[in-house]
């Protein structure tokens, strides 16, 4: 059983989601709330594993979530693996740290997970995920050995399964009524988003929900995606044309966005895509690495960005609630609308996801375990 989802299994949920008719309105009665846990953790050393274990315990325990299950873990490796912010290694700035990934995989293995799939749509690349990790200077071997059965999947293509699974956005979504994704996200029982605590140029902040944007395969949503069908030979681009600016549609085989009269502005589109994805693709656990990270943007290509050390780990079972708490930990108001920090130039994906019923961003309704938010706040705009 998945926490917060009654007796609905992931597979049955996905099957039934397709049958939900689009709602006429956007405003829901009340989006669900779920507990979020916060921990202080100063380093990626020995203290990390215990801190993560305590976080999971505060959420009901890893075994309850993963025992006997196949777990897909989406990590965040944004940008080129050889690009750094100055001399700061990517894992201490824009990438989720391998120690966090490895520690969580080990906790899942110890808790009885049957299989763990580490997944990411690697930057402009269809190469094996292990090779991408090596390019970043990481050794994938310890990750592979962290649990009994660990596999890696670059979800920019159809990959191992040689096919895609459809994820339908409840109530039709804001922009995308559904997404076709690598089957690693469907052929599993639990999806985990391991994100980084960062600001973002087009979404204000990038946390557990925005991390899932990288799940969209380049064969369908990339600049050179196939016109009618996914092009498995051409997964070497960004997602600028289709997703950021809507200058071309995704492959015809996938659900098409409703582009009639919509702004071709990434600060309007991207928050909606993030919200639609959060509603379409259930994420059962979000873990946000805020130990060493960066402020000012999501990657070293953002002018003025800098390394920061919030020393935080944040986890939750509902991605909207978790991101809302994380946003507050960054010194921002998760209830902020467009025009207020951190959404000065973009719409709030938290608000948009809430409208789709994916979860609440209202801190008054979210129970926080461990470190209280007010003691966790690290002001990114200090």
């Amino acid at each position: 059983m998945l926490p917060g989802k009654g007796n609905v299994t992931r597979r049955s949920f996905l099957a039934s989601a397709a049958a939900i008719p689009a709602a006429a309105g956007r405003v829901l009665a009340e989006a669900p709330a779920s507990r979020v846990a916060i921990a202080r953790c100063d380093t990626y050393g020995q203290e990390l594993h215990g801190a993560l274990a305590r976080l999971l315990d505060q959420l009901g325990g890893a075994a309850r979530l993963v025992r006997g299950k196949t777990v897909t873990v989406k990590i965040n490796l944004t940008g080129s693996p050889t690009m750094r912010m100055g001399r700061t290694p990517a894992e201490k700035a824009q990438y989720t740290h391998p120690a966090v990934i490895g520690s969580l995989v080990r906790l899942f293995g110890d808790a009885g997970a049957r299989r763990v799939q580490i997944a990411e749509g690697c930057f402009s690349s269809d190469e094996p995920l292990e090779e991408f990790l090596l390019a970043a200077g990481w050794d994938p071997a310890p990750l592979a050995a962290a649990a009994p059965q660990v596999v890696f999947e670059n979800t920019n293509t159809a990959g191992r399964a040689r096919g895609y699974a459809r994820f339908t956005t409840p109530r039709g979504g804001h922009l995308f009524p559904g997404f076709d994704l690598n089957r690693a996200y469907a052929d599993c029982d639990v999806v985990v988003s391991i994100a980084k605590l960062k600001e973002h140029a087009t979404c204000g902040v990038t946390l557990g929900m925005k991390n899932m944007f990288g799940a969209t395969p380049l064969t369908i949503y990339g600049d050179y995606a196939g016109k009618d069908e996914p092009d498995e030979t051409n997964a070497r681009s960004g997602r600028v044309m289709v997703m950021h600016y809507g200058r071309r549609p995704p492959s015809g085989s996938a659900p098409q966005p409703r582009e009639d009269g919509t702004p071709r502005d990434d600060k309007w589109r991207m928050p909606r895509i993030v919200a639609d994805l959060a509603a379409a693709l259930p994420v059962h656990l979000t873990v946000i690495d805020g130990i060493d990270t960066m402020a000012g943007g999501e990657g070293p290509w953002i002018p003025g960005c800098r390394p920061v050390h919030p020393g935080l780990l944040i986890a939750g079972l509902n991605p909207v609630c978790t991101d809302a708490v994380a946003t507050a930990c960054m010194g921002f108001d998760p209830m902020a609308a467009r025009g207020a920090p951190p959404f000065e130039r973009c719409d709030s994906f938290l608000e948009l996801a809430e409208q789709l019923g994916a979860g609440t961003r209202d801190l008054r309704r979210i129970e926080v375990a461990g470190l209280p938010v007010e003691k966790a706040v690290f002001r990114f705009r200090a």
Binding site: P89, E130, E232
Partner: protein, 428 residues
């Protein structure tokens, strides 16, 4: 100084007809004079007495060299002037098919020549850039360093106006000349580096002739652009000793593997190596067993402890070929990697005792990198030294990160070397 102790090459300017100018060169590290045309009579006797003289050197295009019968020195006449691509210049650098800035580089040609004609000197030349007369000495120093770093010599060709000014005793030209002499002297003091072999676990085997020449040479070019170091060999030079420590062999040729080469490669794969080749090349290979079909362009086979990756098509795209070989072999075998490399190419070599790793770094933008460059290696490093022409040798700081030992590279305009000392085989 005897010419033999002055290995630098100077292309004698056509405008220099006064034998007195030999005196200028005699006090320099340039001991070999190249005369593109016939040696002027007034100069011939004194030049021959005091220098190694080469008249009308027989420069060849590298693709036309018959490698099994290559002359010594190997004279490569179709080098390029090392630089960012033609549209290059800062951020506007032309992007190549790699998505990376296009670089005009000669390192791969020189390394290929050194591997295919072992023991022979390699000389390489190219035409001067159009604006050579207005260029400062650093442009020429960079070209010089590129050749030397890869173990070759590039003749110094003086731009017409510089040659004339130097002959007239112009101070600016004299300063220009001294700068180049200084660079060549610096390399002369590091002559031993030139014999250090490439630290790589990839061998590229081809006859580099006929229909195989283009895919084989372009593979070397584009692999080097990925900072994937390799060693090249003719089929007849492949033996067990040479393949010791190798992780992969890319056999480029269309000719089926047979005879001693087949035996050598069977032994290599049986012991755990990877062979990448055309499907047709393995017709005579018995005992290959399918090992999954997950690769879009290769059929993967198992043999002994190793693998054979059979290309389903001819080598249609050398860029893709370089990428595929790199990933099939795995980046795990990269000896070093660079972060924020920009327009910097690197090439690792190791000392004959395999204890020291030397990484040549060439900055084709000729401007200090806009971002901090970091060098990383898996291997434990005890100590590291930074070497640059014109600067004193000094220790480099070593950091331990999740991915291994890291060394911060301070901004440099043209060339820099990092020499690392470790406890184990530098190529592993």
């Amino acid at each position: 100084m005897q010419p033999a102790s002055r290995p630098g090459l100077l292309e004698w300017p056509a405008s220099w007809t006064d034998p007195a100018l030999l005196g200028l060169v005699e006090d320099s590290p340039f001991g070999t004079l190249l005369f593109p045309q016939a040696l002027p009579e007034a100069i011939a006797a004194p030049a021959r007495a005091r220098f190694r003289v080469v008249e009308r050197p027989g420069w060849r295009k590298h693709a036309e060299i018959d490698w099994p019968r290559a002359a010594d020195p190997v004279l490569i006449g179709d080098g390029v002037w090392p630089a960012l691509g033609e549209a290059g210049g800062g951020d506007t650098a032309e992007a190549g098919p790699t998505g990376l800035p296009w670089l005009e580089a000669n390192g791969w040609i020189i390394r290929m020549a050194r591997d295919l004609a072992p023991g022979a000197e390699v000389w390489i030349r190219s035409d001067l850039p159009e604006d050579a007369d207005r260029a400062d000495a650093s442009l020429f120093a960079f070209a010089h360093c590129e050749a030397r770093a890869h173990g070759a010599a590039r003749p110094l060709s003086l731009p017409v106006r510089i040659a004339a000014a130097l002959a007239a005793g112009n101070a600016h030209a004299a300063s220009w000349w001294r700068a180049l002499c200084s660079v060549e002297s610096w390399w002369r003091e590091r002559a031993a580096w030139q014999a250090w072999p490439t630290a790589s676990r990839l061998w590229v085997v081809s006859d580099f002739a006929g229909p195989n020449q283009y895919p084989a040479a372009e593979f070397l070019n584009l692999a080097a652009r990925r900072n994937l170091a390799w060693r090249a060999a003719l089929p007849r030079h492949v033996d067990g000793a040479r393949l010791q420590g190798a992780a992969a062999v890319a056999y480029v040729d269309q000719a089926p593997l047979e005879g001693p080469l087949l035996e050598q490669l069977e032994g290599f794969v049986r012991q755990g190596g990877l062979l990448v080749c055309l499907e047709a090349a393995c017709r005579a290979w018995r005992g290959l067993a399918p090992a999954g079909s997950g690769h879009p362009r290769f059929q993967l086979m198992r043999f002994g402890k190793g693998r054979v990756a059979l290309s389903r098509t001819d080598w249609e795209d050398p860029y893709l070929m370089a990428q595929d070989v790199h990933l099939l072999m795995s980046r795990r075998h990269d000896v070093v990697r660079l972060f924020n490399p920009g327009s910097i190419l690197c090439w690792p070599v190791m000392s004959p005792d395999r204890r020291r790793l030397l990484v040549h770094l060439l900055n084709y933008s000729r401007r200090g990198a806009a971002h901090d460059v970091v060098l990383q290696t898996w291997a434990p490093v005890k100590a590291a030294l930074v070497e640059r022409p014109g600067s004193a040798r000094r220790a480099a700081g070593i950091r331990r990160e999740a991915g291994g030992c890291e060394i911060d590279i301070e901004p440099f305009d043209t060339y820099c070397a990092i020499e690392m000392e470790g406890n184990q085989d530098a190529s592993r």
